[in-house]
Amino acid sequence: MTLSVALRHDFPDTALDIAFEAPSGVTVLFGRSGAGKSSVIQAIAGLLAPDAGRIALGPRVLLDTEARICVPVHRRRLGLVFQDARLFPHLSVRQNLIYARRGRGRLDETAALLGLEALLDRRPGTLSGGEAQRVAIGRALLSEPEMLLMDEPLAALDGARKAEILPYLERLCAEAGVPILYVSHNIAEVARLARHIVLIDGGRVLKAGPSEALLSDPDLVHVIGLREAGSVMQARVRAQSGDGLTELEVSGGTLWLPQIDAAPGVSLRIRILAQDVLLASRRPEGLSALNVLPATVIAMRRGSGPGVVAQLRVGSDTLLARVTRRSAEALGLEPGAPCFAVLKSVAVSPADIGLAGPERL
């Protein structure tokens, strides 16, 4: 189910002019503070009436200012997690969670996932910031929406909690086929979840496309942040080794990564940060890095700093590596040059591995 959004709206000081398509899976809206992310979410949910626009979820037209269609908020069946939790203060956590009445049966399961079991009879006024945000997530999940709109849902949560919730969202998206439109500043979350990324800046779409392409686009390194630039590779589980590592097949060879709970044959998406890749002119030895893949330099892009981003071909995948200019010169890296990409196994954390959605198998 594809969400297609096209809207124009004038605020007193700024203007939105946004158009994008969000195919099934997770689409991340990414952009700096004030870019217009929340406004887009609100318009899709029906809480902001844009000056002009058309919004459709699959065959359902939710808004068409030309055709004077505007489905009321409560009929849109979109689960919205607000940037602020917006819990109902007079209802207990339990009552907040089952407010939508549809997902009652899954209350216990959802509460457990979000660590809310002990809080069910509390009132929102007594919750901590993160607790409130988790209730808000649960409330939206239990409304069994046709699509989830999540506005920085995990910003108030600690890493451990995030690591529990993210895979659930992923499964929901993959198994229940609920597409998610997700706002985040956190590129690790973005890379993990996003099948599709929409980069917004100053009320306009800067770039939109599959996450693999955007995250490994050296032109976007400055937008995404140097430290978070990276690429996404397709991989297939080959075997589980005894010592806690999983053997994966990528187009350019074999990767050993910390154990991934997936059966042999399963397809995965693996995000590799540019800065986690070392380059070597000959195959290194006696090094703690297990993964060494032969590569060819496609392009070298200089930024303003001392680093260069090397775009490499590894098998049929693209890999980014960030090295200093000094090293690049010392190693003689230039387009067409052969080299070896060195990748530490532990540099790929579970947060960087996502299931490839069924559609992409």
Binding site: G46, G79, R86, F88, R102, R139, A140, S143
Partner: protein, 231 residues
């Protein structure tokens, strides 16, 4: 209260009934009108608002007179009520309740309206995104959140209904057991030399009853407010 004869107690009972019925019966229309005034912009907004305030602005006798003109047996509305429902208000305790309700209406509406305007529309939006229809949003979010204001308004209405005299006696006169409320009885006592004592005794009862209502409403409001604050 030895000074109070059975007639006085009858007035007390009647006052209670009138005030209670007036208060309870005016809550639903009060809610509706407050909602319209707080949340909707429509052509007759100012007119409706003015109409609601009228009983406050007019001397009570005038309100009573206007009620008599409209709801008396000869009045257009009174005739209608009689023809359609066989209901008559003139000289009935129901008429006294109507007078009390109308006098209390501006107070009730204003309290509810203030409460409505204090409700964060973002919460109602959140409920709508969870699939709640307008009616459900109102019943499950708005109404509970305005409950303290509603209670305050109902209390004001009740107190006013207990004290109302001018409009009531003008509209439904003073018939023992039917329309002779505490306030009418007090007035009657005050008209004769030396009647102050008996009036005072009735004032005491009236004050006691209303203070009771006040205490109960404060207690309820505090409970409700704690809930609404999410604690």
């Amino acid at each position: 209260m030895e000074t109070l004869g059975p007639e006085a107690w009858q007035a007390v009972a009647l006052s209670l009934r009138v005030a209670l019925v007036a208060t309870l019966a005016s809550v639903p229309p009060g809610l509706a009108v407050a909602y319209l005034l707080a949340r909707r912009r429509f052509p007759g907004h100012a007119l409706l608002n003015g109409l609601v305030h009228l009983p406050l602005i007019l001397p009570p006798v005038v309100t009573g007179y206007l009620l008599l003109l409209s709801f008396g047996r000869q009045g257009p509305l009174g005739a209608l009520l009689w023809d359609w429902f066989g209901v008559t208000l003139a000289f009935r305790w129901t008429g006294a309740a109507l007078a009390a309700a109308i006098m209390a209406f501006p107070l009730l509406v204003r309290a509810i309206r203030l409460a409505l305007e204090a409700v964060d529309p973002k919460l109602e939006e959140a409920a709508a995104t969870l699939g709640a229809s307008r009616a459900r949003v109102f019943l499950t979010i708005t109404l509970p959140l305005i409950l303290p204001g509603l209670l305050a308004g109902a209390l004001l209405g009740f107190a006013k209904a207990m004290g109302e005299f001018g409009a009531t006696i003008t509209f439904v006169s003073n018939i023992p057991g039917e329309t002779r409320t505490i306030a009418s009885a007090i007035y009657a006592f005050l008209q004769i030399p030396g009647g102050e004592r008996a009036a005072l005794a009735l004032v005491g009862v009236s004050v006691a009853l209303s203070m009771g209502a006040l205490l109960v409403s404060e207690w309820l409001a505090r409970r409700v407010a704690r809930r609404v604050a999410g604690q």
